[in-house]
């Protein structure tokens, strides 16, 4: 019971948090909290098998699926706070509260009777006991769910599948395209210039220097440029100067060329 009283508030708070979290990722994490807590409650209630399943399947697989989809859809897509449907939020809260109130009132009133406990049922272990029932009495339902799962998987594939609208480009196609670009726009034919090479290490964040001393934009990744982590020429110049002033020091420090 202790576990319950600790976890119950956590779960309710986490669940309420899902209502208010603006970012979907946060909601997912809060859901994970609820699920893990539930798993603990399962084990408290003599359901170790479902505890495992809850953790592995639910939290581990299903929730991860949510996160994957979130990634695909955009991590930072967040709800706007403005409600578009008139009265939806108000009524949702009113009816939801009425529902919650009556439901809680109702179930609280039900006397479930003395709790029998699962000690007898779980005598030979929970998992064997479950499998015993699952593969006898519920075997048809079980088979049906397997069919359901396969169908669902196929369905998801069909839904998520994207038709290729253009034929796949071969290497020859790409070469031809490149020649055409060169002919039409004079686009550079060869490979892009490599980044600048600095004596001490290969640096992708260092642009190559053109003969006139300016940096070549083409030689660095555009992503790095956008992040602003590319070393500019003046910075580089300071570095170079430093090296030139005390090269011996450097070497001696290394102690490799004595």
């Amino acid at each position: 019971m202790i576990a319950f009283w600790i976890l119950a508030p956590v779960m309710v708070v986490a669940a309420l948090g899902m209502l208010f979290a603006r970012k979907a990722v946060h909601a997912a994490i809060l859901l994970a909290v609820v699920m893990m807590s539930l798993a603990v409650l399962y084990v408290v209630q003599d359901a170790p098998f479902l505890f495992a399943v809850q953790i592995i399947v639910y939290t581990g697989a299903i929730l991860m699926l949510f996160l994957f989809v979130l990634m695909l859809v955009g991590v930072d897509s967040s709800d706007s706070v403005i409600e578009t449907i008139k009265g939806q939020r108000l009524w949702a809260i009113i009816i939801g509260l009425v529902f919650a109130g009556t439901l809680v009132l109702g179930v609280a009133q039900i006397s479930v009777g003395a709790v029998t406990g699962l000690d007898t049922a779980n005598k030979g272990g929970n998992v064997p006991a479950i499998s015993q029932i699952l593969f006898t009495r519920y075997v048809f339902a079980f088979e049906a769910t397997s069919a359901l799962l396969i169908t669902a998987a196929l369905g998801a594939m069909v839904l998520a599948h994207r038709e290729r609208l253009t034929p796949k480009l071969t290497q020859a196609d790409m070469a031809a395209q490149r020649m055409r670009d060169y002919a039409d726009h004079g686009k550079h034919l060869g490979p892009l210039p490599p980044p600048g090479v600095f004596a001490r290490h290969n640096a992708v964040d260092t642009p190559a220097l053109l003969p006139d001393g300016t940096a070549s934009e083409a030689s660095i990744s555009r992503v790095l440029a956008a992040r602003g982590t590319v070393k500019s020429v003046p910075e580089m110049a300071a570095d170079v100067a430093h090296m030139m002033i005390d090269p011996a020091d450097e070497i001696s420090t290394d102690g490799s060329e004595k």
Binding site: F4, M11, A15, M18, L19, A27, L31, V34, L38, L41, Y42, Q45, D46, A47, L50, V53, Q54, V57, Y58, A61, L65, F66, V69, L70, L72, V73, S77, D79, I85, Q88, R89, A92, I93, G96, F99, L103, V104, V107, A108, I110, V112, G113, V115, T116, G117, L118, T120, A129, I130, L134, Y138, A141, T145, L149, A152, G155, A156, M157, L159, A160
Partner: protein, 99 residues
Amino acid sequence: MSATPFIVLSAILFSIGSIGVLVRRNAIVMFMCVELMLNASNLALITFSRSSGTLDGQIAAFFVMVVAAAEVVVGLAIIMTIFRTRRSASVDDASLLKY
């Protein structure tokens, strides 16, 4: 260990989940709220299983999980498709099927 607190908790979680479905517009979050409702019902099932002393409730919860898994797979695939075509995950945008 009485069963009532578990059931009440289950009811509360279920209600929160249902309100979530109603107020959230992001399809993925809505889906999560549905999952919350399913989980709440699982809790109730497992509690009933314990109080009745049979494992059928647990089996039912197990089936709920399986079905939930299938549902999530298909549901998310649908969300993906919608997102791909409409560039939006809001359920309010998919309201062409009306009148």
